[in-house]
């Protein structure tokens, strides 16, 4: 399948989602800066994908995080936790006040998400490569039980260097699992530098195709493309689906974009101010604290 462009989505809906995505990014930079810990680059690159999932595509109920028929989301790239917490608080799973505790002792918001500490986390992740296998297990069990919900799993490109990802890819295709959609946050940068220099994963879309997955490629910052692909993926039968989302590491913060230095470095006070200005944060309804 090729790139997705058209959708019946209204302009208002796109506008609404883009505003939410901006709020997510504002939460991300504030949370990480205040904590002095966390991973801004990947939390910013995933923000539009998470917004599309939690505010348009997924069937979830923040009032009933354990609702058995909810769609499931697994953040396999667990270091994107700040982005996940931001989307969960915006969606109403917990108070934004909690974001101020991120990464601190006794906090429910671990730097890598812990399922037993906070509602809305399906499974604890952080050791790369493990989330997709768990998502596959959920999907297989759901099929066994005749459940019709869908499982989404967000993986990273550096994470795709883990062998376990490809074990899971093979198994999902073998079992013709079509209630599972993977999204690859293909931001092209990992901790020590560009993915292409550290350990090239390209041609990654071809790799998934050769594993017998349905593959779509989108601009991971174009809300319409993301949603169209995710909705198409839900209709694919007989094979699992991956949306390769081309993203920019540190998206929205000028000095972070494309820079490996911001994989795991928190911005200081001055840098935070510049980030908030870049993102246009601080306007009504976009602040916490």
């Amino acid at each position: 399948m090729s790139r997705m462009y058209s959708s019946a989505l209204s302009e208002q809906e796109i506008y609404r989602l883009e505003r939410i995505a901006r709020r997510i990014r504002c939460h991300v930079v504030r949370t990480i800066s205040e904590a002095g810990a966390g991973h801004p680059g990947g939390s910013l690159s995933e923000a539009d994908i998470l917004t599309a999932l939690y505010f348009h595509v997924m069937r979830v109920d923040p009032q009933r995080p354990d609702w058995e028929d909810r769609d499931r989301f697994v953040l396999s790239k667990g270091h994107g936790a700040a982005g996940l917490y931001a989307i969960l608080t915006e969606r109403g799973y917990f108070s934004p006040e909690l974001l101020k505790t991120f990464g601190r002792i006794n906090s429910a918001l671990q730097v890598h998400p812990d399922m037993h500490m906070i509602p809305g986390i399906e499974i604890s992740t952080g050791a790369l490569g493990q989330g997709l296998s768990a998502a596959l297990g959920i999907a297989l069990a759901a099929r066994l039980d005749g459940k019709t919900f869908h499982v989404y799993c967000l993986i990273g490109d550096g994470e795709s260097q883990e062998g376990q990802v490809w074990e899971a890819a093979e198994a999902a295709a073998h079992y013709k699992v079509d209630n599972l959609t993977v999204i690859l946050d293909y931001n092209g940068v990992q901790l020590m530098g560009p993915v292409s220099e550290i350990m090239e994963v390209a041609p990654v879309a071809d790799k998934w195709r050769s594993f017998n997955w349905a593959v779509m490629e989108v601009d991971g910052h174009d809300m319409r493309q993301i949603i169209t692909a995710l909705e198409t993926a839900r209709e694919v039968k007989g094979k699992p689906c991956i949306v390769v989302a081309h993203t920019v590491k540190g998206k929205g913060v000028s000095y972070m974009e494309g820079k490996s230095a911001w994989h795991g470095q928190p911005p200081n006070e001055e840098q935070l101010a510049r980030a908030l200005a870049d993102l246009g944060c601080g306007k009504a309804g976009e602040a916490h604290g």
Partner: protein
């Protein structure tokens, strides 16, 4: 007549699955060896062949447990513990998933497959993983009861299952209780503590010692974690020393677990029989136990040296 431990495991799993629809089995292409093939034949829709890919298998099991399944993850002990160690730690144990990991062909007696297939460190690895319960049953009767008990228990379990037939140590009317040791033989001079198939070797060692006028107590310790502290302390207080015997490296397994209890609660002379920090090789079970210092004779000699240590005051 005792049957092979793997047979007892395979048949019991089928019996339990008839009553409990949540039991699922994941296999890494070893079902005919581990005997989960019986489950696969009767419940093909609940049997998941995951191929030779143990890391993914462990994570898939964790995902299934999230959905209320009781996954039995079946492979050889070496692969369950070493190959998939991080997945066991993070996806299963850290998440406190109700996954039952079954390490088959455990220890040095692994069906003449040699060093690559002999799990000599699996207990050490699994015991060090928080939340993990570790069980090493002795014989067919106990294995059946243990499988029932781990289904009833909600949480991650590592269950060692040997391949072959071992002399029964389970007494008549035996009832396995998680975390509890079994006194197989009364005795006042020295205590032999075994786990897994080594408990039957301890019973034989006790007969050898009896001929030399030494009255050995034999304890079988099926649950390696949580360990039965009380029974170890009692043995240290009532007998003159302790010998542990395990189908595992002497580091990290039963010997270490017992030593940890003794040093904190009741220091006593002690010796550890087991694999002496090396990898194994091919050979028959009796040949391997003999060559690697794990035969009843070796256990008896260790007991005598513990008693000498006590008598000489060293």
């Amino acid at each position: 007549m005792a049957e092979a431990v793997r047979e007892a495991f395979g048949h019991t799993l089928v019996q339990l699955a008839r009553q409990n629809a949540n039991i699922v089995v994941l296999d890494a292409d070893l079902a005919s060896s581990t005997r989960v093939v019986y489950f696969a034949q009767e419940f093909p829709e609940r049997f998941f062949q995951m191929g030779v890919a143990e890391q993914n298998m462990m994570g898939v099991a964790a995902g299934m447990a999230l959905m209320g399944k009781i996954p039995f993850v079946s492979t050889f002990g070496v692969f369950a513990s070493r190959r998939a160690c991080d997945q066991v730690a993070i996806s299963v144990a850290h998440c406190r998933m109700n996954v039952k990991i079954v390490g088959a062909y455990s220890g040095i007696v692994s069906g003449n497959n040699g060093a690559t297939h002999q799990a000599v460190e699996d207990v050490g690895i699994m015991r060090a993983i928080p939340h993990m319960v570790v069980i090493d049953p002795a014989d067919d009767v106990e294995t059946e009861q243990v499988v029932r008990a781990v289904v009833a228990y909600d949480g991650p379990v590592y269950l060692r299952v040997t391949r072959d037939v071992w002399p029964r140590v389970s007494p008549e009317g035996y009832n396995f209780v998680l975390g509890k040791a079994v006194q197989v033989r009364e005795g006042k001079d020295v205590t032999l503590v075994g786990s897994g198939m080594m408990s039957s070797q301890c019973v034989e060692a006790a007969h050898i010692l009896f001929q030399s006028g030494i009255d050995a107590r034999v304890l079988h310790m099926p649950t390696l974690k949580p360990i039965d502290v009380e029974v170890i302390v009692k043995a240290a207080e009532e007998t003159s020393g302790i010998v542990t015997a395990e189908n595992h490296n002497i580091y990290g397994g039963l010997g270490s677990a017992v030593a940890e209890v003794l040093v904190e609660h009741a220091p006593a002379p002690m010796k550890r029989v087991g694999i002496q920090d090396c990898y194994g090789e091919c050979g028959g079970n009796a040949e391997l136990l003999c060559k690697y210092g794990m035969s009843p004779q070796h256990i008896a000699e260790a007991a005598q040296s513990v008693l000498q240590k006590r008598n000489s005051g060293c």
